[in-house]
Amino acid sequence: MFHRNPGLIDTVDGVARRVGRTTIAVISDVRELLQLGVLKQKRIGNSEVVFLDRSKDRELLESVANHLKTVRIGGEK
């Protein structure tokens, strides 16, 4: 969701609504992404919003790509 929509800045409620799910259903995924550092949190007025850390997202994608490359080379050997 966030990788495909990197400019999404919303509350957890808002994110859940946009994916057609309830807050309870998405909260654990959001927490996990916050712990990984892929998502960041910020206070806007009275609301807490979440959004993608673009550089962290890029970094993670690169490390996954590198890992897959290593696995593939290892398999070929």
Binding site: R4, N5, G14, I44, S47
Partner: protein, 280 residues
């Protein structure tokens, strides 16, 4: 400024603007529209782009931002409804690669809730992105969505706050407004008095002429500048908005009852009579 324009301009784009550009104008990059605006929008102005659903507001707004990037002016598209993924896809159909522009830090699609846009604490929603990409242009799609979160009486004050926020940061904004009232006999752009807050109003309107639906564009207001007052026909092509000639042979288009002007009717009757004579 001129140097960065030529550096970032896409191939062939400069050919659209031969010679020295009008100083101090924010070009839309749509040649005919810039001509209508006597060079472009005034810098830092708040422009309302009003029209009913399907008239091409989003396409015109995106084209304005994409052309801005080509001219070396970064832009932000704020949407309250559609997810960025859908905006990227729709833009790609016109040949605009927004993701690539984002990678180059020249463009951002921000998708958020109108209520967050209205939060007025020490941190504004747009502070970070304004700092990151230093935009010259920003589109809000749409101001009409704010209506769902504020009382009708407060709408004007909240819109004023959004406009002032952008103006004080030197950003030229285009604010989309869904305006079903532009069709039919009673013509008004908004019913909450926003027309007075903005500096320029561009209205898009579907018109039925001789049993076919066509689209018209008109500049209703432009503070501090002369502008073309004629209604111009436009089309949404595979390359974006293309503005055609003026509806010179019709009157009553804005009121929703287009009819041929008297001289045109006379010419038609005259042509008909002379054809009959020839046949006889």
């Amino acid at each position: 400024m001129t140097a960065s324009r030529s550096k970032t301009g896409a191939s062939g784009f400069d050919q659209l603007f031969p010679g020295k550009p009008e100083e101090g104008r924010v070009k839309t990059g749509i040649v005919e529209l810039d001509e209508m605006l006597k060079g472009g929008f005034m810098p830092g102005d708040a422009v309302m782009l009003a029209g009913s659903a399907g008239t091409g507001k989003t396409t015109l707004a995106l084209q304005y931002l994409v052309n801005g990037v080509k001219l070396g002016e970064p832009g932000i598209y704020v949407t309250f409804e559609e997810l960025p993924d859908q905006i990227y896809r729709d833009a790609k159909n016109f040949g605009w690669d927004l993701r690539k522009m984002e990678e180059q830090d020249k463009f951002r699609v921000i998708c958020t809730s109108p209520s967050l846009m209205l939060e007025s604490g020490s941190d504004s929603l747009l502070d970070d992105v304004l700092r990151d990409i230093q935009p010259r242009r920003l589109v809000v799609d749409s101001l009409s969505h704010l209506e769902m979160f504020v009382k009708k009486d407060d709408m004007r004050m909240e819109a004023y706050r959004v406009i002032r926020y952008l103006k004080t940061r030197g950003v030229s904004s285009v604010l989309l407004w869904e305006s079903p009232q532009i069709s039919g006999g009673s013509f008004s752009v908004t019913d909450v008095g926003l027309s007075f807050l903005v500096d320029c109003i561009v209205a898009l309107k579907p018109v039925e002429i001789e049993s076919s639906m066509r689209k018209a564009l008109v500049i209703l207001k432009m503070r501090g500048s002369d502008h073309d007052k004629r209604l111009r026909e436009f089309e949404i092509t595979s390359n974006g908005i293309k503005i055609e000639s003026a509806f010179t042979n019709y009157e009553g288009i804005i009121s929703g009852s287009p009819r041929k002007v008297a001289s045109e009717k006379f010419m038609e009757m005259f042509r008909g009579a002379s054809e009959k004579q020839k046949k006889a």
